[in-house]
């Protein structure tokens, strides 16, 4: 059993803006991801959630 909250995002609707700190393997540096940057640069996004680092994905 997983205790999840109901998602506030809905299929076919705009995703609310959010941002996350990132690690960028291509640069070996930290960075930032935000929904508004993705929209501003007209990029498709695939968000891929997984349980934890150091496990299989």
């Amino acid at each position: 059993m997983a205790e999840t909250m109901t998602a506030s995002v809905k299929l076919g609707q705009k995703v609310p803006d959010f941002e996350m700190v990132t690690y960028e393997p291509t640069k070996g540096d930290f960075g930032k991801f935000s929904m508004r940057d993705q929209i501003a640069s007209k990029r498709w996004t695939i968000l891929f959630f997984y349980p934890a680092d150091f496990t299989f994905v």
């Binding site: 690690y23 393997p25 960075g31 929904m35 993705q38 929209i39 680092d53």
Partner: protein, 133 residues
Amino acid sequence: MGADIVTVSTDTQFVHLAWQKSEKELANVRYTMAADPTGNVSRMFGVYNEGNGLDLRGTFLINPEGTLLNMEMNFYNVGRNIDELMRKFKANIYVAKKTNEVCPSKWKDEGDKTLVNPGAKMVGKVHEALQGA
């Protein structure tokens, strides 16, 4: 590929760095690894497990306008199929360009059979439409 792949877990960016540098399977990783230690983004997408603080295996496809077009969620013990993710991604790009067509379940790539102008005439006649009759 035309999309930015962003992996997300509740680990910090520091752990992402340590994992990517130590795990040889990840030596050639080019995607962004995002940190959601508060679980706030994960909650927004409904993948955060309050019981253990870990995310479920959820995949979300968002178009350049910021609209959510596809979502898939698996429980912990089953991995995702990247071919199916790519199929859905290509299909969404295709129908974004060809707005009068839809991609049926067997559609895999450009050139495969689509349904054009699905409407009243196709009701009860999907089989014939798929056969190209």
